[in-house]
Symmetry: C2
């Protein structure tokens, strides 16, 4: 069974600017065929590749995840079927001390939001946080991408 | 874009019994990650194969359809994530005059329901109906498999 163990953090934008030139930038567009947190179904277009991803309910920082590459053309056909808005973001990827960090700078309705994610091998794996990490938000459902479709950052108080 | 054009019929069980021995029987189990008619997401286990299928909203007898084979083990892991009941049925397949008919005999909560489907190349393709066909139900949403999860045949008046 595919299990994703992931921690999520807010980013200090000023400090992040200093590291950002070292990271690889990838544009991402994604939408959801199911926004239900019990079983999200995501269509993602990343560079010129498309993926269909199913995730189960979060249990702490862990959840079931299955990802299938699909033909790009079919991914683009499926995007308009999605519920609600399409999320657009640029993902910056950078390896630091053996861990791969993914820093998502959101656009559109979620402009201003910058979130860093790191995938772990075990729930209690200790990690050294880069200086541009501000605060952990792993357990805060507002930051789930599926929730950002329904309640985008610009509407937060 | 994958388009499915399909007509659906009720079956006369007595007459169908005479043809049934000529058909190939396949057990099917399926569940839905999304039951929303705008975008159903289905996990199907058929023999020892698993498929992930996305269908768009019905427009008459036509709708968008994309199907992806997935590893059996992952299909079995995804089934418990599905919303509501799992549909169980035996599918009988038979070729008649160049068309492939699929006759589904439902089990469990939908026991007693027998539905025949035929996939067409065009919406207005003329077809000769086998003698065991009773009545067309292509446009009746009660017979959508996604709806049989929520409102099974045994609960119908």
């Amino acid at each position: 069974m595919g299990i994703e163990i992931e921690r999520k953090y807010l980013v200090n934008p000023t400090l992040w600017q200093l590291t950002k030139p070292l990271a690889v930038a990838t544009p991402i567009r994604q939408g959801y065929l199911s926004l239900n947190p019990e079983r999200t179904v995501r269509i993602r277009i990343k560079n010129n590749n498309a993926y269909l991803t199913i995730k189960g309910k979060n249990e702490g920082i862990k959840r079931i995840e299955f990802e299938y590459p699909i033909p790009l053309e079919e991914g683009l056909d499926l995007l308009p079927l999605c519920e609600g808005a399409i999320i657009e973001k640029t993902r910056y990827t950078i390896a630091i001390e053996g861990l791969t960090w993914e820093i998502d700078e959101f656009e559109g309705e979620n402009l201003g939001l910058i979130v860093a994610e790191v995938e772990l091998q075990a729930e209690h794996e200790s990690i050294r946080l880069p200086v541009w990490i501000k605060q952990e938000v792993s357990l805060d459902p507002r930051y789930y991408n599926a929730n950002l479709v329904q309640c985008p950052f610009k509407n937060w108080k």
